[in-house]
């Protein structure tokens, strides 16, 4: 992910006023493999968008036109939605040059929209239309749409419950991990006592604590919060610590000669120097916390997306399961995006950050 992407997207605070940029050594890097720019240059009509629109219209035609193998009440709604999107895409393709930046952005996603449309046609054909895939396990898209439209109170409630549990555990784990990492990185004595524990216990998957946590803690909710915090805390601790240990020794020499106190050295030198590492830890911790969250919800907590998944599987409601998976993917990737946005803001002084 990479330089192509990070060049294509503007970054906040990447350069000062224009006059400064001229003198400073940060010339615009060449854009390598900027697919979007290439597509944007092809002409007045966005053929890729027109093609994508045609694909989505075909999705509608296939859904409505062919007889179904099964009973799917939302086929018409699905077809209408696909047709509306297809129409809009064709329209957007025709007047693309007048749409400005949103048009360019849409053009960037044209190939994806086309492939998604074609994929939906194939999906529709092998499920609802010809039942080539075993039925209860592989529902057609309209069945999943049905879940979103009919079961959204329960699904939405599960998302909220998951978010609540995750937020509590993650914030707790991140703060504890950060504090512990700073202590271990800074103080020899803290390092002496914490390091062996961290080495011995840290690599243990947080989920292994699950049976113990569920009877030690007063509620399954507090047990799960603890487990999520544990999963988050380990990588955050290790990376905060290594960030502080990896800070340039001269940074400390400079601050010491300038009259810095111990607390100034920690707050204004060690911690800022460690922040890029800390964010890697926060990122890894977030990934680990998702895993623990889902397992905890499946095994103990009676709410949340993990529980919804388990419940759907128990009732052989596979469409609900796919819907919950999609909701979970959206939730997790949104949280990661949020974390990367925060990092971009906090670490705007760094150059060449990976764009998410």
């Amino acid at each position: 992910m990479t330089s192509a992407l990070s060049n294509a997207l503007p970054r906040r605070g990447s350069a000062g006023p224009a006059a400064e940029r001229g003198a400073a050594k940060n010339p615009a890097r060449p854009r390598i493999g900027d697919a979007a720019a290439g597509l944007r240059r092809t002409g007045a009509i966005g053929w890729i968008l027109v093609a994508a629109g045609a694909a989505w219209l075909s999705v509608a035609a296939v859904s409505l036109g062919l007889p179904e193998d099964g009973d799917f009440p939302y086929t018409a709604v699905f077809a209408q939605g696909a047709a509306a999107l297809g129409g809009l895409l064709i329209l957007a393709g025709l007047v693309r040059t007048r749409l400005g930046r949103p048009g360019a952005r849409l053009g960037h996603w044209g190939p994806w929209l086309l492939v998604l449309g074609l994929g939906l046609i194939a999906w529709e054909l092998v499920t609802a239309k010809y039942a080539l895939l075993p039925m209860p396990f592989f529902p057609p898209p309209q069945a999943i749409l049905e879940v979103f439209l009919e079961d959204w109170p329960k699904l939405g409630g599960s998302i909220l419950a998951s978010l609540k549990l995750l937020a509590g555990g993650y914030v707790l784990g991140a703060l504890a991990g950060f504090g512990l990492g700073v202590a271990v990185g800074w103080s020899r004595r803290a390092g002496y006592w914490v390091h062996p524990v961290l080495r011995f216990v840290g690599p243990l998957p947080a989920t292994a604590w699950l049976p113990l946590a569920f009877f030690v803690f007063p509620s399954s909710w507090s047990a799960s919060t603890f487990l999520v915090a544990l999963a988050t805390g380990f990588p955050v601790t290790v990376l905060t610590w290594s960030g502080i240990a990896a800070a340039n020794r001269s940074y400390y020499d400079v601050a010491r000669t300038l009259g810095a106190s111990q607390s100034f050295l920690i707050r204004k030198v060690a911690i800022p120097a460690a922040l890029p590492h800390v964010f890697v830890g926060l990122f890894m911790g977030l990934g680990a916390s998702f895993a623990v969250l889902v397992v905890a919800e499946m095994l103990g907590v009676k709410s949340g997306l993990g529980w919804y998944l388990q419940w759907a599987q128990g009732w052989a409601a596979y469409a609900n399961m796919y819907a919950a998976l999609i909701a979970m993917a959206l939730m997790c990737s949104s949280l990661i995006t949020l974390l990367f946005r925060l990092r971009d803001r906090v670490l705007s002084w760094q150059k060449g950050l990976v764009q998410w």
Binding site: N26, T257, Q350
Partner: protein, 260 residues
């Protein structure tokens, strides 16, 4: 190099007395001597160059003077008082500018005042220091946006803003390209003349030592001993093609074992 003449902020540089200082590194427990009975008195306001082969212990002497490490033997006095630890009156500028990448130029220059809780009432000193090194227009730039010369100027401003009485320059121009180096040599002389502080420059460039300093101390290979103490009192600005300078250069190179 034309800058508005600013009134000297520091009234006067300090005197540094180095009394039979010896020092050794410990590498896997075995001592590796780097300084051998160095005796040196530097008058207030002098510009002295320490010249010697690389790895001879020049930088170690500066670290001892900065108070970053205590010497194994001997003592260092600043104006008669023993140097016991780091202090903003004695500041080091390294070969690497070691700017904090997360702070703007202004933030880096403010560092010493901020660390001592003096920033609130002394913001004008930061602006003055930036102006002194010609970086007023770059106050809000981040280090990664600066050229090597600009970064080193920022490091100089970060030291000067604290009104040091002794400026320890550890090959500050060593990593710069030849032209930037010439420019900054001129600026160093100007800053030294304007501020009246005592400056000690570590370098392995004979010409640089002769163009900048009033006195050139030639050190031996490790463990460093003083081989020669050469007065160099030609008026500033000095020219590299001055026959007198060329003669001294040859003389020093001969001491260092390069008779060519």
């Amino acid at each position: 190099m034309v800058a508005a003449p600013l009134a000297p902020v520091t009234p006067r540089g300090a005197a540094l007395d180095i009394r039979t200082v010896s020092h050794a590194f410990r590498i896997k427990g075995a001592p590796l001597p780097v300084l051998d009975r160095i005796d040196l008195t530097i008058e207030p306001g002098a510009f002295v160059a320490l010249l010697g082969p690389s790895g001879c212990g020049k930088s170690t002497l500066l670290r001892l003077a900065a108070g970053l490490e205590p010497p194994d033997a001997g003592r260092l006095d600043l104006d008669g008082a023993a140097i016991a630890g780091p202090d903003p009156s004695r500041l080091l500028v390294f070969q690497d500018p070691t700017l904090y990448p997360w702070r703007t130029v202004r933030g880096n220059v403010s560092l010493g005042l901020e660390a001592r809780g003096l920033l609130r009432h002394n913001r004008h000193r930061v602006d003055a220091a930036l102006e002194r090194v010609g970086l007023s227009g770059f106050a809000e730039a981040y280090p990664h946006q600066l050229s090597g010369g600009m970064a080193q100027r920022t490091a100089l401003a970060r030291a000067l803003v604290n009104d040091p009485r002794l400026l320890l320059l550890d090959e500050p121009l060593g990593k710069l390209d030849a032209l930037t180096r010439l420019t900054l040599q001129g600026e160093l002389v100007r800053l030294w003349q304007e501020t009246g502080l005592t400056a000690i420059l570590v370098t392995h460039d004979v010409e640089e030592a002769l163009v900048l300093a009033q006195r050139v101390i030639v050190l031996s290979d490790r463990p460093a001993r003083i081989r020669a103490d050469i007065a160099n009192d030609a008026p500033y600005p000095r020219h590299r093609d001055d026959p007198d300078l060329i003669r001294r250069r040859r003389e020093i190179l001969a001491i260092l074992g390069h008779d060519a």
